[in-house]
């Protein structure tokens, strides 16, 4: 009789103590989608599809590139996430602009990317061209840009598969996006940065700020007026 009682008590104790380990123990309740403030979760739910897991190997720009993170300032990063980037497929994510994220969630994304991917001294002492063009509207010289493009870019981006000087491609990539890729490169897919923008990724001199302005202006002229108009209509989400 005593044995049975002790056994029963032990069994009850195991059940009570181990009930958290039971296979049927319910998981923690879901929090509201607008109260999720974990960077990894927010990034995976909202950004990873285009920018890749860990900010790499996505079809859109690699946010995990330390050079890109060093180039762009908080305000710009925040602006593109919240309001989208005109001239590209980047949609607006802030609730104020029709998206699903609260201001606090956008802040978490900005801070999280900085913490995860900004490296100390990403440019190894070199000074890159500024993130934004010196004058509003990319006031470079298109003719000089064409020459620079022929020398520094066309070696790889020659006509054919790698061609980027087509109006179709350029209608989908805005001037600022081109500028960011020219300066920071895309190491995840082997695209060089401004110091190495030259045939074979071996440049004698880095591109100057003026060179970048010129190339972006030149490529801008290749977007035909017609496609840009349609893109502005159709591209807006």
């Amino acid at each position: 009789m005593r044995c049975v009682a002790v056994g029963l008590a032990a069994w009850l104790a195991v059940i009570l103590a181990g009930c958290r380990l039971a296979p049927g123990h319910p998981p923690d309740p879901d929090s509201r989608p607008d109260q999720v403030l974990d960077f990894a979760t927010l990034y995976d739910q909202n950004c990873a599809a285009c920018h890749g897991r860990n900010g790499q190997n996505g079809p859109a720009i690699d946010l995990g590139n330390p050079e890109y993170q060093a180039l762009i300032d908080d305000a710009s990063l925040r602006k593109w996430i919240a309001n989208g980037m005109p001239g590209t497929e980047m949609p607006a994510f802030a609730q104020s602009a029709g998206g699903m994220l609260t201001d606090a969630q956008v802040d978490v994304l900005v801070a999280g990317m900085r913490k995860a991917w900004r490296a100390q001294d990403a440019f190894a002492g070199a000074a890159p061209p500024a993130y934004a063009p010196a004058a509003a509207g990319n006031a470079g010289d298109a003719q000089r840009g064409q020459q620079t493009y022929q020398v520094r870019c066309a070696g790889c981006h020659k006509a054919g598969g790698e061609d980027i000087a087509s109006s179709t491609y350029l209608s989908l990539v805005g001037g600022q996006a081109l500028r960011s890729i020219i300066i920071a490169g895309r190491p995840d897919i082997g695209q060089p940065d401004w110091q190495h923008d030259a045939p074979g990724g071996k440049a004698v001199t880095p591109l100057s700020a003026q060179d970048v302005d010129d190339i972006v202006t030149y490529l801008g002229t290749l977007r035909s007026a017609a496609t840009t108009t349609v893109s502005a209509q159709g591209g807006g989400k």
């Binding site: 296979p23 319910p26 981006h157 087509s166």
Partner: protein
């Protein structure tokens, strides 16, 4: 010890002198039943009765904590799940008890139907049983509402829209169902009252009458092919059978009922322990649109039927089918109150049960597995496999961005990730030529909307360029042979090696 025994005997005698229950209980316990009905086929009714009491017992314990208010219900379920020791297990017992009860009631009904037990003189037992089935389903639905999560909220919305289709009085009925024009606190109070007072009360009363009639009229004898039921002779034949070849209900048949009910209770406990309680899912807030509500298991078949019905058929079906179904069930014992009981000579009955069971299983399976809804967050959360992006041209890469940003992924998967509403795109280039892809994107077709007006020409071009790269390495993309021929014919002769 003998003194205590004597005292107990005196108390019993005092009570019995006033209650006089000994004789009727003895009658019920020892009443003879046909020997061949002491069978494992006759245990489902008592198991349903046992489950009813499990539900009442666990329900009372849950009601001690549950708060039937729109603001508190969801929180109180989470308190049960996480703060009260074994509270989750209690919820799981009640939830799985409900599943088992619906299942056992349906099996009981099928068995009674196949054994012809609804025939004279047990017509009223059957009719009460039909109402007990409806009340069981009512308990299941109102219980789902009390869980007051997103499934409950949208389930109520669907229930209200079904009710609203009743001609003339639909609006009034919705008001009555929801306790106002919207799903709110009054709705929950209403369903709490139904689930806790009204339906269980009616159910207990009906269940006792049901059992009372079983005791008074006797348990249906094992059906023998050729032994026909006739109003004039049945009762005498039955009495003769129970006296010549019968045994007392206890313990002759009762021990099988006990063993089976015990096994069912154990099965409920195991399911509760292993699979846990149902929900609650997300908060019942209509402003949260990141949700794919689904009804509980036993209502999935309705969900499937409603999904497949052509829109014009919906209202007639919703309004006529349930009433017709209930009317048929109620009319059955009057239509066929005499005659053959054995399923060996009732092929239509066997076919009906088989057809209903197969239809129900198929519809439930479809409701469980069919991807009715797009994955609304796939476009922003499901990356394209890196191998698919490797060595893409800039234009195709831009096309991959278009594919994501225009939310194609919500319906089309790549690499197993994404929606399943449309076909997977992993090898779409082997199925469609570039022209066909372009045409499909622009004009849509089948279930796919036309994207011609939502995409600019460069976006379409980039998207199709990317889709054209989606083929296995050892399988070239599809091409149009006529076009290929024209290209070859246009080339100057001699250029071919």
């Amino acid at each position: 010890m003998p003194g205590m025994k004597r005292a107990a005997g005196r108390v019993y005698a005092w009570l019995e002198r006033r209650l006089q229950l000994a004789a009727p209980v003895k009658d019920a316990v020892l009443h003879p039943v046909p020997r061949n009905t002491a069978s494992w086929w006759y245990v489902f009714g008592s198991a349903a009765f046992t489950l009813l009491f499990l539900q009442i017992f666990t329900g009372i314990l849950l009601a001690l904590v549950y708060v039937p208010s729109a603001g508190e219900a969801w929180n109180s379920l989470n308190v049960l799940n996480h703060q009260i020791p074994l509270g989750w297990f209690l919820r799981a017992l009640h939830g799985w008890g409900s599943n088992f009860m619906v299942a056992i009631v349906l099996i009981h009904m099928a068995q009674v139907f196949l054994f012809g037990a609804y025939k004279f003189p047990r017509e009223l037992t059957w009719i009460l049983g039909v109402f007990l089935l409806l009340m069981t389903l009512g308990m299941a639905f109102s219980g789902q509402v009390l869980r007051f999560d997103q499934d409950a909220y949208w389930g109520l919305g669907i229930g209200a829209s079904i009710v609203s289709r009743v001609p003339w009085i639909g609006g009034g009925l919705v008001h009555l169902l929801l306790g106002g024009p919207i799903i709110a606190g009054a709705t929950l109070s209403r369903f709490f009252t139904l689930h806790v007072f009204v339906i269980p009360g009616a159910m207990l009363l009906s269940a006792f009458l049901h059992v009372w009639m079983v005791l008074k009229l006797g348990i249906n004898e094992w059906p023998m092919p050729g032994r026909l039921v006739s109003r004039a002779t049945y009762v005498d034949q039955y009495n003769q059978l129970t006296h010549e070849d019968g045994l007392p209900f206890v313990p002759g048949a009762f021990w099988k009922d006990l063993v089976f009910s015990g096994a069912i209770l154990a099965a409920v406990a195991v399911c509760a322990f292993v699979f846990g309680p149902y929900g609650p899912g997300g908060q019942p807030d209509p402003s949260i649109i990141q949700t794919v509500p689904k009804p509980d298991f036993f209502f999935l078949w309705i969900y499937t039927v409603l999904s497949y019905l052509p829109p014009a058929m919906e209202t007639p079906f919703i309004l006529i089918a349930p009433i017709a179904g209930i009317a048929i069930l109620l009319a059955l014992p009057f239509y066929a109150s005499e005659g053959e009981k054995s399923w060996h000579r009732r092929p239509v009955a066997v076919l009906v049960v088989t057809t209903v069971a197969v239809c129900w299983a198929v519809l439930t399976q479809l409701g469980t597995t069919t991807p009715w809804s797009p994955h609304m967050s796939a476009w922003s959360s499901d990356p394209i496999p890196v191998s698919r992006l490797h060595a893409l041209t800039p234009l195709a890469r831009a096309g991959a961005v278009v594919l994501q940003a225009k939310q194609c992924r919500n319906c089309h998967s790549i690499g197993g990730l994404g929606g399943e509403r449309g076909p997977a795109l992993d090898d779409v280039a082997t199925r469609m030529t570039m022209d066909q892809l372009r045409f499909k994107v622009v004009t849509g077709g089948g279930n796919m909307p036309a994207y011609g007006k939502n995409l600019s020409p460069p976006e379409i071009e980039a998207l199709v360029t990317f889709l054209e790269t989606l083929h296995p390495a050892n399988e070239p993309p599809a091409y149009d042979p006529a076009q290929q021929q024209a290209i070859e014919a246009a080339q100057p002769s001699g250029s071919a090696p």
